[in-house]
Each structure stands twice: as C-alpha cells, then as structure tokens.
C-alpha cells in the first residue's frame, strides 16, 4: 500500500529567509507522525506544501502514490491555520458544508455530521452559530470538519492550540481511532503535547530542515528535543 504521503526534497523559501530547505517526509498508512519544532521552524510551510497550498521551488509530493494534481482529495482531511467555520452558520450547518466540500454524498451528510458532533462533544453547541463559539470550541468544530469524512490522510497544524485538556484528549482518541483503521496522520506542534506523545514517530524540524527524530516512548523527550535543536543551532 502506498504511503499516505511521500514528500521528497521539498524546498520553498521566502524573502525573509524562512521556509523549508530540502525536507523528506513520509507518513505510512496507520501511522501517526508528529512534527515538532519551535515557532518559525517551517512546520506550517511544510504542511501547506503537502496540501498544495504552496508550490515548492523544488521537490515532489505524492498522496497515496499520486501527485497533487491527480490526488483523490476526498480522502484527505486537514486543519491548517484556521478552522473551516463560517461565523454566520451554526455548528451543524458548518459541518454539513464541510462534509459536502469533502465529497460526502448528500444522503450521508446528516449521519456523518451527527457522528462528528458526538465524537467531539459538540452536542450543546450544535445549533449555535460558529461566530458565538469560544476559540476552543471553534477549534473542536474545525477538527470535527477535518475528520468527519473518514479521511485516509490527515494533516493537522498545531491542533491542540486553544483546546482545553478535555478537547486534547478527545482529539488524541479520535486520531488513535483513525490510525487504527489505517489512516495516516501528520500532526505538528511547537511543543511535545499530548498528541505528539501518542505518535509512532516524531520528526524534529529546525530552520527548515529535518534535524532528527525522537523516540516517542523515550524518557525525558523534551530534553532530547531541546538538545537536538540547540546542537543544530550551534552547528549552523
């Protein structure tokens, strides 16, 4: 089975010197691959490159063995930057809109939305407009929209931002359920949060380059992370 994503030699730099410089990333089916790095390391740029939001200066990206031009986007779910949540629509309407945009058949939308509301514990907010939600609940809504159509490749950029501890646990469980059924998950964080800790693999990004990996089951992996980053900064 082809990797959920296989990116090779990705380069995209910006005028201010930030970006990614020759990154290889693979996420296997059923794998949770965490990407950690300090702010400005290039995590969001890398995720945007994987999803076609940015065109690389060099390098290739394949999703389930197909180039981005031929990718089956119905099998992809993502939350990068901001949730897909329109303030004038209710949670339920936003989820229905998200399901439709991800190619869910109209007849199946209601059931999928109900399941997403239940999974992310959005029941009491289902009829509330997204513009009236707290940041944390808006993030839950965005995550529900990204995950509800059972994607085979999931990309989440710092998904625990603004989530309360209960939301973090809900997300972690939702990702584990999907990876158990064969979905590849690529999730970024600027710190080793609860989601990074359930990853099968942790890659460290610094100054636009993958500088090493961390053992998710290791002892004191935060210390290992900072040692890696410090060592790379000194070498550079």
């Amino acid at each position: 089975m082809a990797d959920a994503v296989d990116a090779r030699g990705l380069v995209r730099t910006f005028d201010d010197g930030t970006g990614v410089r020759g990154v290889d990333i693979r996420v296997a089916p059923g794998e949770i691959h965490a990407l950690v790095g300090l702010n400005g390391a290039g995590k969001s740029t890398l995720m945007r490159l994987l999803l076609g939001m940015l065109k690389p200066d060099r390098g290739t990206v394949a999703i389930a063995g197909r180039s981005l031009e031929g990718a089956d986007w119905t099998t992809v779910g993502h939350l990068v930057d901001y949730p897909l949540a329109y303030g004038e629509l209710t949670c339920r309407q936003n989820l229905a809109l998200g399901a439709r945009l991800h190619g869910v058949a109209p007849a199946a939308i209601e059931g999928i939305v109900d399941a997403a509301i239940e999974e992310l514990h959005l029941g009491q907010y289902a009829g509330r407009r997204a513009g009236k939600l707290s940041l944390g609940n808006k993030q839950r809504l965005g995550l529900a929209s990204a995950l509800q159509h059972s994607p085979r490749f999931i990309v989440l950029d710092e998904p625990t931002n603004t989530l309360d501890p209960a939301g973090v646990i809900l997300l972690r469980e939702a990702l584990l359920r999907r990876s158990d059924t064969g979905a590849g998950v690529f999730v970024s964080s600027h710190h080793l949060d609860e989601v990074a800790r359930v990853a099968d693999r942790i890659s460290v990004l610094n100054a636009g380059r993958i500088i090493g990996t961390l053992d998710p089951h290791g002892i004191d992996i935060e210390r290992s992370f900072f040692e890696l980053v410090h060592s790379d900064d000194v070498t550079a």
């Binding site: 910006f14 945007r48 999803l51 076609g52 939001m53 940015l54 065109k55 089956d72 986007w73 119905t74 992809v76 993502h78 939350l79 990068v80 930057d81 901001y82 949730p83 897909l84 949540a85 329109y86 303030g87 004038e88 629509l89 309407q93 809109l97 998200g98 439709r100 945009l101 991800h102 190619g103 965005g142 929209s145 990309v155």
Partner: protein, 251 residues
C-alpha cells in the same frame, strides 16, 4: 459545480452583510426616490424649487428619472460591497485554507460565488423595481402610464448592468485579499465613469455606458458602445477565476 453553488448559497443566505446591503439597496434607493416626491410637494417653496428640477418632468417619468440616477451610483457601490465581501471574506476569516485540498476546485468555488452573486443581484434588482412601483403608488402618482414602462425597463436594466460592471471588484478583492480593495475598485469605477461622462468620452467607457444609456434617453449610446461591456466583464471574470486557480497561501 452543484456543491459549490450549494455551499455559496448557504453562506450568502445567512450572511448579515448581504441582508443589510439588500435592504439598503432595495429600501434605501426606493426611499430616497420616493422621499423626493414628498419633498417637492411640500409647502416649503424653497425646497420644492430646489428638488423640482431633479424629478423633471414630474409624475412617474420624473420619479423613474431620479431612480435611474440614484441606482447608477448607489447600486454600483452596493453590489460592489457584496461582491468584494464574498471573495475577500475567505481571507479575512481564515477559511481560505479549508478551501484547499478538497475535491471541489477553487476555480469552481469562485465561479459559484459569481453565479450566486448574479442571482442575488437579479433578485435584488427585481425587488428594487417592485419597491419603487409600490412607493410610487403610495405617494399618489396614480396609474402607471404606458410611456413610463420603458423607463421602468431602463431602471431594471441599469441595475443588471451595475451588477455585472462591478465584477472587477471580485478580482481586486482576491488579489488584494481585502474587502477594502474590492470596494475601492467599485468606487474607482464609479468616479472614473463620472469623469468620463464629464469629459465627453463616457460613451466609449464601458463602465459609464449603462448609466448614460439609462439616464439620457435622448442621448445616442450605440449598441456597439454598450457591447463593449461584455469583453470587460469577461476579462474581469476570467482574471478572477484564474487568480483563484493559481492561489497560494504565501502571505
């Protein structure tokens, strides 16, 4: 395309910006025009003297003469506001990232935005005409004479022309990623149209020809001059669709 249309219609139908602008276009323009009728029938001779020439020749014809003038300016700005918002709000709300990596292309979504905008605009234009007629009847203008029907047709047509000549605002709002860029473009279209009319070149300035044609029934605006609107609007639509197709989240 159906997914895009359903998505965009759902958003438009629930948007406060669209509701408020619809009310401003329909009731705002019609109330301005009908209030002039009341003003010229006032007991204040000075006010009547000032406003009287504006609704010359009076009655239904004068009333619609005012309506096309107000529609030419206020309508264009109103339609420009909604069009700019439709395209720029994805950037302002951060929802643009969610419109990548989905099976519906951004070009299709942009086309759906334009179709929904045109449909909403046509409904608004019809509602404005209806409001004008109802307020004219309420103002005591009496039965509508047959020679006023062409004026009503011009008023409705000018609304439709205003809807389509605002399309460059969609491209500006996309490139500028800002509602202000789109609104500014609509205002620039309005101002340059006025200038072109004052300099006598309005007949050959596609953004000015609809208003010239509608307001000055005695002025010869040729079919060729009116037809120049088509390539300008087509170019604006093509540029907008291409910009959405080539969009990158690089800023």
């Amino acid at each position: 395309m159906i997914t895009g249309l359903v998505t965009e219609f759902t958003k438009l139908a629930h948007a406060t910006v669209v509701r408020v602008t619809s009310v401003l276009i329909v009731l705002g323009i019609s109330l301005i025009c009908s209030s002039m009728l009341f003003a010229v029938h006032t007991d204040d001779p000075q006010l009547a003297a000032k406003l009287g020439p504006l609704i010359d020749p009076g009655g239904w014809a004068g009333y619609f003469a005012v309506a096309v003038q107000v529609t030419g300016a206020a309508g264009l700005v109103g339609y420009g506001v909604v069009l700019s918002w439709l395209f720029s709000r994805e950037f302002a709300d951060g929802t643009i990232a969610g419109l990548f990596a989905i099976p519906v292309s951004r070009r299709t979504l942009a086309a759906a935005k334009l179709v929904v905008y045109l449909t909403w605009g046509a409904v608004t234009a019809a509602a404005l005409l209806l409001a004008l007629i109802l307020l004219g009847l309420a103002a005591g203008l009496g039965p509508i004479p047959a020679d006023v029907v062409p004026w009503m047709g011009r008023q409705f047509a000018l609304s439709l022309f205003s809807i389509v000549i605002a399309t460059p605002a969609a491209w500006a709002a996309t490139v500028g990623r800002s509602v202000l860029a789109g609104i500014a473009t609509a205002i620039v279209i309005l101002v340059t149209s006025q200038v072109s009319v004052l300099t006598g070149a309005g007949g050959w300035y596609p953004f000015a020809t609809p208003a010239l044609w509608a307001i000055h029934s005695d002025m010869a605006v040729t079919p060729l001059q009116l037809s120049l609107i088509a390539p300008v609007v087509a170019a604006a639509v093509a540029l907008t669709l291409q910009s959405w197709k080539n969009l990158q989240l690089d800023r």
